[in-house]
C-alpha cells in the first residue's frame, strides 16, 4: 500500500482531510478475464450478427466470408469460455473482492448495500453505498450477466455440436436440443447478445458515475488493479467479513 495525496471532490469535510491509500483490489486474473470477456464479446457479437444476417455479400470465386466469420466466431468462443472459466475459478481462489459472496445479496450488510444502491439509482438517496469491491447491486447484476454467459456458452456449444457431432461435447450439451428445439436455442443465443450490448452501456455509465461519486479511481482500477480509499473507509470495509 502506498499513500498518495489526492485532491478530493464532494466528500465529507472530515474525510477530505484524510490521505488516500492505494489498495490492490482487482488481481490480474480478474482484470484479464474482464478484458478478454469484453473483447471476445465484441468479436462474437460482430461475427454472430453476421451469421444471423449476412450484411456483406462477397463476390469472386475465392470468397469464403461466412466460413471465415464462423471460424472466427468459433475460435473466439473458446477463448471466451476459457476467460469465463478463469473468472469462475477465481470466485473461489481470489481475494475477498473477487469471491462469489460479492455477487449475491445475502446477509444483512450485503442486502443493505443492495437496497441502498438501488435507492441511489432511483434518486431516493443522494450518495451511493460505499464498498471497496463491487457494491452489492452491481454484484447481483454481474451474477445475472454470468448466468447469461453460461446460457450463451451452453446454447452455443449445443449449436456447435450439431456440426461437430462430438460425443464428449454431446455429454455436456446433448440434452439441450432434446429439451428446447434447435430454433429456439438459436433465438436465445441471438437475443442474449443484445442483453450484453445493453449491459455494456449501463456498465460503463455506472462505472463513470460511481467513480465520480467515490473519487476512488474506479475506472482506472480495472486497468491497474488499484483503487484509492481513505483509512477510515478501509477500516469500515475490514470490519465486515
Amino acid at each position: 500500500m502506498t499513500t498518495v495525496t489526492h485532491s478530493i471532490g464532494r466528500t465529507s469535510p472530515s474525510e477530505a482531510e484524510e490521505k488516500l491509500v492505494r489498495v490492490y483490489i482487482w488481481e490480474w486474473p480478474v482484470r484479464i478475464a474482464h478484458w478478454v470477456i469484453f473483447l471476445s464479446i465484441v468479436v462474437l457479437s460482430f461475427t454472430g450478427y453476421y451469421m444471423y444476417a449476412p450484411f456483406i455479400t462477397s463476390r469472386g470465386s475465392g470468397a469464403f466470408l461466412m466460413g471465415e466469420m464462423r471460424f472466427i466466431h468459433e475460435v473466439t468462443a473458446f477463448v471466451f469460455v476459457a476467460a469465463f472459466l478463469l473468472r469462475v475459478y477465481w470466485f473461489f481462489k481470489g481475494n475477498k473482492w473477487a469471491r462469489w459472496r460479492q455477487f449475491l445479496p445475502i446477509g444483512r450488510y450485503q442486502w443493505q448495500g443492495f437496497i441502498g444502491q438501488l435507492q441511489y439509482y432511483l434518486f431516493v438517496r443522494r450518495k451511493p453505498e460505499f464498498r471497496m469491491g463491487h457494491n452489492p447491486l452491481a454484484g447481483a447484476t454481474y451474477s445475472m450477466i454470468f448466468a447469461l454467459m453460461l446460457i450463451e456458452i451452453l446454447t452455443g456449444l449445443a449449436l456447435y455440436n450439431r456440426i461437430l457431432g462430438s460425443k464428449v461435447l454431446g455429454f455436456f450439451v446433448g440434452w439441450l436440443p432434446m429439451l428446447i428445439s434447435i430454433r429456439y436455442l438459436r433465438e436465445i443465443h441471438f437475443l442474449i447478445m443484445f442483453a450484453f450490448g445493453a449491459f455494456v452501456i449501463h456498465h460503463v455509465y455506472s462505472a463513470v458515475l460511481i467513480g465520480i461519486e467515490e473519487r476512488s479511481g474506479l475506472v482506472g482500477g480495472i486497468f491497474s488493479g488499484y483503487k484509492f480509499f481513505s483509512e477510515s473507509r478501509i477500516k469500515e470495509d475490514a470490519s465486515h467479513e
Partner: protein, 371 residues
Amino acid sequence: MPLLKGTLAEALKVRGVSRREFAKFCSTMVATLALPPQYLAAVADALQRADRPVLVWLEFQDCAGNTESMLRSSNPPVADVVLNLLSWEYHETIMAGAGKQAEAALKRVVQQDAGKYIAVVEGAIPTADGGVYCTIAGRTALDIATEVCTHAAACIAVGACAWDGGLVRSNPNPTGAVGLQEAVPGVKVVNLGGCPHNVANTAAVLVHYLTFHEMPALDQYNRPLFAYGRLIHDQCERRAHYDAGQFVEEWGDEGSRKGWCLYKMGCKGPDATYNCPTVRWNGGTSWPVKSGHGCIACASHRFWDAMSPFYKPLPKVPGFGVDVAAEEIGWGVVGGVAALTAAHAVGSVIRAKKGNGDIQKEETKPASPQS
C-alpha cells in the same frame, strides 16, 4: 386388386415387373438405407423369398398427401415394387371395396393376421370431445387406431400428422389432435415425418424390416437414422454459397437467379435433419432448395409451430406479435437501456448541482429522500 398371397418373386412375375427393374429397386433401397453395396444380394434374395406380409393403411385427419406421394412416385420401380412388396388389404383412398365390405376386410385382417400384419397410419388422431372429430364407419379414429395398431406386428406413422400431429395439431389445435405414438402409447411406432413422407424412405424401412426382420436404428423421435440423421444444410448443393457469403436477398434477384444460398430468405436447412437433398423427389429430379425455395423443415418435430415464420431466419418470440422479429426486440432493449441511461445521467447532473450546497446535511442524514 386380387389378393396375391405368396412370395414377392411370384407377385412381381404376375405384375410384369422385370428382373432389371427389381435389381434397380434393390440398389436404390440399399443406397437409401446407407448400407454397403455387399448387402445388395442379401436384400434382393430376402425380398424375393419373403412371404408378402399383409399391410393395412389407415387414414385419419389427413389430406391424403402421403398416399399421393407414394402413388405418384415417378420412379416406376419403387412404386411398383412397394405396391407389390406387400399385400395391401385396406387403404381407403385406393381400395376398390367400399362400405361394409371394406370394413369387413379390415376386421378380417385384425382377427386372422393378428401379430403378423403391418399397420401404416397417415393423419393425426383427434382426442378432444371423445375423438368425435374423425370417425370412420361410426368408430372414432382413436378407437380404430388402438385396435389395429395393438394387434399389428409393426406400426409405421407416415407424414408429419401421424408422427406428431402435424398441421392438424398446430396451434390452436381445436380437435385435440395428436400423433399415433401419443394416441396409442403402448405400441412401438416408427415415425416417418415429412410433409409428405418420402416414399423412398418408407419403402426402405419396409425393405429393412423384410430383410433383417427388425426396424432400422432409430433416433430419439423413433425416426430411422438413415433418413433423419443428418442436417440438410450439410448435404445442400448451395452450401458453397453459404460459406462464401453469397445470399439471395429477395425473390428473383441476381443471387436468386445464380442459385445462391437461401438462408436469408428463411431457409431452415441449418436446423432441419432429413435426407431430402440426397433422396430427392420425383424420381430423384429435384428437391425444394434445388428448385429455388428455402427448406421449411417439414420433417422436423412440430414444424408448423416451431419453424414458422417460414421466410424469416429466426422464430417469433413468444409473447410478441408475429410481425415483431427477435432482432427488433433486441435493438429495442439496447435502445431502451441507452435512453434510460441518458435520462439517468441528466438526473445525476441535476442531483449533483442541487446537492453541492447541502453536502453536510446529507452526511448526517444519508438516507433522506430527495425532495
